[in-house]
């Protein structure tokens, strides 16, 4: 075992995969600089693009159909919207339209998430909006080991995958977007997420399997990405109040590991979903519906983003999931009142 940063782990897993599989190429804006370490080794496999997401994401689909394995990068997941057609009407449709004869092994890699004071067009996470479309997997790792393992798994998939990389976990993005030259601003960076132990040789993680980060008996917390770390911090607080939370790190949003969520809820009878994405019409509702379909008996609460993420940092912290909110909602769930 050795230790690595989150972004280092991803890059490391990509290098391992690129050495083993020469179909892998990388495409996207500024990849010649953002992936400079890869340029040196694989210069003819790195394709920097103009600011033309609709085109290069669309082109990534047919390049994949023709036998390549493109990693198409976006500067941020928010910008997928100008290329949404490529996802909704193409990447996810080709396999079915072709009578399940033609897959699209495409990996879309995009930074996501809030907490850097950048406002509502540069901080969204958007997995819920994408997740409703059948035919695409969505990964959201919370730590370096999962990030590398899931990236390797994504590169072995036969169908489209979106790999989300939370900005608060990436040293490189914090340095670049957070302002390399000022120490006057602090971000709430989860230290167990940005750096950690990784295997000496990457093995692909199974996509669609959650991880129990902490066992507990009183309530189940389900989340992914940075929100997982907020739950862990809240659990310490709750432990002091004799409330024992079980914490599940989804790691993949699609496919959703509903079996293991159900198993935990069966034990605790209570579930709190902590979702950085929009609360309405998304992951939290999906989990509730899936559990109800299984005729489980449980009480339920959720925390999610309900409005446009405000630019103002003091409003932003009130909008995104926070330890404070999680503690308070857990108490509500546990006692039945605040």
């Amino acid at each position: 075992m050795k230790r690595m940063n989150f972004d280092e782990a991803i890059e490391n897993a990509i290098i391992q995969a690129m050495l083993e599989d020469d179909r892998i190429i990388i495409m996207g804006e500024d990849v010649h600089t953002n992936r400079s370490a890869l340029v040196a080794r694989f210069s003819d496999r790195i394709f920097p693009t103009p600011i033309s997401e609709a085109s290069f994401l669309g082109a990534g689909i047919t390049a994949a159909m023709a036998g390549l394995k493109p990693i198409v990068e976006l500067w941020m997941i928010d910008f997928i919207c100008v290329a949404f057609d490529a996802i909704v009407n193409h990447a996810t449709k080709v396999y079915d339209f072709s009578g399940k004869r033609w897959g699209v092994p495409l990996v879309i890699r995009a930074p996501c998430g809030g907490g850097l004071g950048d406002g509502g067009q540069h901080e969204q996470i958007l997995y819920g909006s994408i997740a409703s479309i059948p035919g695409i997997k969505i990964l959201l790792p919370s730590n370096p080991a999962d990030a590398g393992g899931l990236m390797l798994a994504a590169l072995q998939e036969k169908h489209p995958v979106i790999f989300l990389e939370h900005k608060l976990l990436s040293e490189q993005l914090l340095y670049y977007l957070g302002g390399s030259g000022r120490n006057t601003v602090k971000f709430d960076v989860p230290e167990n997420g940005i750096e950690g132990e990784v295997p000496d040789h990457w093995v692909p993680l199974e996509i669609g399997k959650l991880k129990v980060l902490k066992e507990g008996t009183d309530l189940t917390m389900v989340s992914a990405g940075v929100a997982v770390h907020r739950c862990m911090d809240a659990a310490i607080e709750l432990e002091k109040q004799n409330i024992s939370a079980e914490i599940l790190d989804l790691r993949t949003i699609v496919p959703l590991d509903i079996d293991n969520i159900a198993a935990s809820v069966q034990k605790t009878g209570k579930i709190l979903i902590v979702d950085e994405d929009y609360k309405q019409f998304g992951l939290s509702g999906e989990i509730a519906a899936s559990l109800l379909e299984r005729k489980l008996n449980f009480t339920y609460q959720r925390i999610g983003t309900e409005t446009t993420i405000p630019f103002s940092p003091q409003l932003e912290v009130k909008t995104l999931p926070s330890v404070e909110k999680i503690v308070s909602m857990s108490q509500f769930l546990f006692y039945g009142s605040h």
Binding site: N34, L38, S52, G119, P310
Partner: protein, 341 residues
């Protein structure tokens, strides 16, 4: 003409001093998020904005502070917005921030989505034409945005609907770390021509050159209800955003060099000769980025040098604007501080 030069100079200096102030506040941690400054673009923007009338609209991008200041939007409200002050004195109540400034009163809208200024201006122009006004709409965006699908669709839309839009393309030669000549096929003026839109390329560092051309171009747009494409060469003297690592050679090496060096030491992949060549190409191209900061490319310097006879008047403008900005800062901090009491 002297009066005009002084007026244009004043617009530029107001924007410059204001943005320099925002830079300091940003460094002090009082402005959150990324900060994209228009320092180096003032001449191009002043030359256009000084020819607008009431009711004209502007759609802009992530680098819009100069046009907001020059159009006359309350500077203190802009500053409070950029500081994320959640109060009614802020331009957008602290909800938008510097990449998402909006002024309903001045018909000014911005977007951090590259390319969005173009459809934005087209819609404003459609409304102006439909309402049978003489107003026009201006789109401000960088050269990088002209590779975005919806930007090109907007050129066609404005052309076919015959709309009074001035598309201003501020070309600094770079989009973040990409050298635009490597990413732009053909020539942008000819590209606009291809959509049936007339266009011209000007030295956007020379405010008089832009102003004189625009004095002819804008009345023509108002009258003929036809779009026009203005390509102006500008610089971003503060880089893509504040503390851009590319402006600091040490940082460039630290950010890109270190990871490159590491990749040299690891086996497999391309052979050594090829590695050295590809790395050399990246680094020397990135170093070119710094040409933008040469003082002979500063629009304020250019104006002052061209009109040495006005040196004293220029100094007076500088002093007045300096006082003005200081007052704005004081007033802003009062409101900002009042809140946190």
């Amino acid at each position: 003409m002297d009066a005009e030069v002084l007026h244009l100079y004043e617009l530029m200096v107001r924007s410059r001093f204001f943005e320099e102030l925002t830079k300091v506040l940003w460094e002090d941690g009082l402005i959150p998020g990324e900060l994209h400054l228009g320092i180096g673009t003032e001449a191009a923007i002043a030359g256009v904005v000084s020819n607008l009338i009431d009711g004209d609209a502007i759609a802009s991008d992530h680098r819009s502070t100069p046009e907001f200041i020059m159009r006359g939007v309350n500077p203190s409200s802009i500053l409070l917005e950029m500081m994320g002050h959640p109060g009614e004195e802020s331009l957008c109540a602290g909800l938008g921030g510097h990449m998402h400034l909006f002024s309903k009163e001045y018909l000014m809208a911005t977007s951090g989505i590259v390319g969005a200024s173009l459809p934005g201006a087209v819609g404003f122009a459609l409304a102006a034409k439909y309402k049978k006004t003489d107003n026009i709409a201006v789109s401000f965006s960088g050269e990088g945005s002209y590779n975005q699908g919806h930007a090109l669709e907007s050129l066609n839309l404005a052309s076919t609907l015959q709309l009074p839009v001035l598309f201003v393309c501020k070309d600094n030669g770079w989009s973040i770390t990409s050298k635009s000549s490597d990413f732009t096929g053909g020539n942008l003026v000819q590209r606009a021509n291809g959509f049936g839109i007339d266009g011209i390329s000007l030295n956007g560092l020379d405010v008089e050159e832009v102003y004189n051309a625009i004095q002819v171009i804008i009345p023509r747009i108002r009258k003929n209800k036809k779009p026009y494409f203005l390509h102006v060469l500008v610089t971003h003297r503060e880089g893509h955003f504040t503390t851009d690592p590319l402006l600091n050679p040490k940082d460039t090496l630290k950010k890109y060099g270190a990871s490159i060096t590491k990749s040299f030491l690891t086996p497999k992949g391309a052979n050594l000769g090829k590695r050295i060549k590809s790395v050399g190409t990246i680094l020397s191209s990135l170093m070119e980025f710094r040409k933008q900061v040469k003082s002979k490319n500063d629009p304020l310097y250019i104006t002052r040098r061209k009109h040495q006879e006005l040196a004293q008047e220029f100094d007076e403008v500088d002093q007045n604007i300096h006082r003005e900005i200081k007052k704005i800062l004081e007033r802003t901090l009062e409101i900002y501080g009042g809140k946190s009491k």
